[in-house]
């Protein structure tokens, strides 16, 4: 079981950059959860007690702070929580959801048949109501999808049932989150001036589709920074036709960055 990252099931042979930052972000997110949140699950209590963490007086501490206070490495605490079967893995936003709140999409058969499931997934995401969570069942961890849906404001949480059987929950982590999570959801951060979309590892033309879909929601003044594994020569004319300005550079060998700005509003 893992929490929202590409750390498990990822093929280390591909040597892509970006996986380590993703893991780091996921670890940071886990470490930032409070003892109170984690100890809401009774299975966590034994693990916390075993490591000398007080879930009562120290309930306000983050896991990172609690581990430091107990003189334990954070990794040991996270591992203990993982082994307890809760591990702060299931976000509170996903606790107590009934079946009606879940939009289930099983793409295992599509992939076995060689069919492209992207459209089904995006249709399910588009069709999900404000309080609903999309639960994707896939034969591998769909890491590239995390960035694509992340740009739509969806957080994710993954469960590995077997090496070739994953469930990934996509949910809104902000104020528009599911009702049961509303009490604990943090306010959404202010929109950044630059939003990043990593489309590496997607089969053509999914990178183009992901970029064009994201452009649709780009706010005035925002810059879309696309991370690609090649110069998208077929995307440029589409950007030109829609009036978007763009520039491309290569920050590292094999990594291409395209910065896209919306057209200036008409006077």
């Amino acid at each position: 079981m893992s929490h929202g990252c590409g750390c498990e099931g990822h093929d280390p042979r591909d040597g892509r950059e970006g996986v380590r930052p993703r893991i780091a972000r996921a670890l940071e997110a886990r470490a930032a959860r409070t003892v109170a949140e984690v100890s809401a699950d009774p299975r966590a209590l034994a693990a916390l007690q075993r490591l000398g963490i007080n879930h009562c007086c120290g309930a306000h501490l983050t896991l990172a702070e609690a581990a430091a206070a107990a003189g334990r490495p954070l990794a040991e605490l996270l591992r203990a929580l993982d082994e307890a079967g809760v591990a702060g893995t299931r976000p509170v936003a996903l606790a107590g959801l009934d079946e009606a709140a879940l939009v289930r999409v099983d793409v295992r058969e599509d992939l076995r048949q060689g069919r492209e499931p992207f459209a089904r997934i995006m249709a399910a995401v588009r069709g999900a109501g404000p309080g609903q969570v999309v639960v994707l069942r896939a034969p591998f961890e769909p890491v590239p999808l995390y960035d694509v849906l992340g740009r739509r404001g969806l957080a994710h949480w993954s469960e590995r049932h077997a090496d070739d059987d994953w469930s990934v929950w996509f949910y809104r982590a902000g104020p528009a989150a599911a009702a049961p999570a509303a009490a604990v959801a943090a306010p959404a951060p202010a929109p950044p001036s630059t939003v990043t979309l990593d489309v590496r590892g997607l089969e053509p033309p999914l990178p183009m589709v992901a970029v064009l879909e994201r452009l649709d929601t780009l706010a005035a003044g925002e810059v879309l920074e696309v991370i690609h594994d090649r110069r998208p020569m077929f995307l440029y004319p589409q950007l030109d036709d829609r009036g978007f300005a763009h520039e491309t550079d290569e920050p590292a060998p094999g990594t291409v960055r395209i910065r896209i700005r919306p057209p200036a509003p008409a006077p």
């Binding site: 892509r16 048949q113 249709a123 053509p204 064009l212 879909e213 649709d216 110069r231 020569m233 004319p237």
Partner: protein, 435 residues
């Protein structure tokens, strides 16, 4: 850097490669239909005017048109350079198709002077393609493995064309030194190993990872392929023309390049993140599989262990019909849907639901084409090796059915580009996508 102001210089037109690919698909169907029709001739010696006409339908009509059409889509992608002139490419298409029709027709009726005029048109078209591709590569940021092999392929194409013209002149007024058949074999191998092989190897290194979702291959295999082709192909051609021992050494170098390519393909298949292979990828991998018997036969001929027109024809069937044709067919099953999608749906993407490539394709037709073409080529290789006209006819019928299935599959995709089909499809995609 692509500047923020003004239009990008790299706006590729989908209709340009599409016209080449549609013409190539038509040539494949005609060639496949020609096999059962010419079964008697194919069971005999390969240097029969009608067999030579059939061979040029495959090599020029199907393989060369397909590679050139795919180049006009792939040059911007794999070399990250815009095409120098689309207008020149459109003129080139007209010249090439006219020249190929003329060449095949004149071969068929064994009329050499008319053949030479047609070959001249083909040579002009080839010159236009080489100039266009070479000028497109000006200012290339990095001379990658793919870029070097594309250059090698363009050189091979130029030399093959010149060699072919010389052979044509020689038919009218003999002037070439040496025996005729070694010269003919040198022309064939220049085309196969100098034009088709480097182009496929170069493009495969960049395109297969995109579709297999595998890391791009790196390492010593690149040097083996580059040097194997750079040294091996001239040695094979020179050896066939002058010194047989040189042909054997060259064949070994080419075989090493082929082995390195196959090792890369195998590595990409193993490292892929894509769980299921679609039919396009199965075509490509089956094509790679045909490289093994074709290379072994080639080595056998070069070493003097094998000889004779029947085995020679079987070798050509495995190389052109098995490896080159199945590989190109597989790539077309990826390229054509993309081009149609790009032309029809890319302008709508992000604004309304659009289909995926998989929704444009027809897996049942692709499966039928895969089974029939694969079985047909294998059967035809065995049949021509045995010299049995009945077997050739039977294998030809299977091939023709495979060609028809392939053409029907492509036609269904291309049909999306018609205005009414695009409107109908767009209306049905939200439902299809939510299924």
């Amino acid at each position: 850097m692509i500047g923020p102001a003004g239009r990008s210089p790299a706006a590729p037109s989908a209709s340009l490669p599409l016209r080449f690919l549609v013409a190539a698909g038509t040539a494949l169907v005609l060639a496949a239909l020609g096999v059962p029709w010419l079964a008697g001739e194919l069971a005999g010696h390969y240097y029969h005017p009608r067999v030579v006409a059939l061979t040029h339908t495959v090599t020029l009509g199907w393989i060369t048109l397909a590679i050139m059409g795919a180049s006009y889509q792939l040059i911007p992608i794999v070399l990250e350079r815009p095409l120098w002139s689309e207008r020149l490419a459109r003129w080139q298409f007209l010249l090439l198709v006219t020249g190929i029709v003329g060449m095949v027709g004149h071969f068929f009726i064994a009329q050499w002077s008319g053949l030479l005029w047609s070959a001249g048109l083909v040579a002009l078209a080839v010159a236009a393609h080489v100039i266009n591709a070479a000028l497109s590569m000006r200012g290339l940021r990095a001379w990658t493995f793919t870029a070097w092999l594309v250059v090698a392929a363009l050189a091979g194409l130029t030399l093959t064309t010149l060699f072919g013209i010389l052979l044509g002149i020689d038919r009218l007024a003999p002037f070439l030194p040496g025996a005729f058949f070694p010269t003919l074999h040198a022309h064939f191998h220049l085309a196969l190993l100098g034009w088709v092989l480097p182009m496929v190897l170069g493009v495969a290194a960049r395109v297969y990872p995109m579709f297999l979702l595998a890391p791009e291959p790196r390492g010593r295999g690149a040097r083996v392929q580059l040097w194997g082709i750079a040294l091996g192909v001239p040695a094979v051609v020179a050896g066939l023309l002058a010194a047989p021992w040189l042909a054997a050494a060259g064949a070994l170098a080419v075989a090493a390049a082929v082995a390195a390519h196959l090792a890369w393909v195998l590595g990409m298949v193993r490292a892929r993140r894509r769980p299921a292979l679609d039919w396009g990828l199965r075509f490509v991998l089956a094509g790679a599989g045909f490289l093994v018997p074709a290379t072994l036969l080639g080595l056998g001929f070069a070493a003097g262990l094998l000889s004779g027109p029947r085995l020679g024809l079987a070798y050509a069937v495995l190389a052109l019909g098995g490896w080159a044709s199945l590989t190109i067919a597989g790539m077309m099953l990826k390229i054509v849907p993309f081009l149609v999608w790009y032309q029809v749906y890319a302008p709508r993407a992000g604004r309304e639901p659009v289909p995926t490539l998989a929704q444009l394709s027809w897996p049942a037709g692709e499966a039928a084409a895969f089974a029939l073409l694969g079985a047909g080529v294998a059967g035809l290789a065995l049949a021509v090796a045995a010299g049995e006209a009945g077997w050739v006819r039977a294998a030809g019928v299977v091939l023709a059915a495979g060609g028809a299935a392939f053409a029907a599959t492509l036609a269904r995709v291309v049909h999306h580009a018609t205005p009414c089909a695009a409107r109908r499809a767009a209306a049905s995609f939200p439902q299809a996508a939510a299924r």
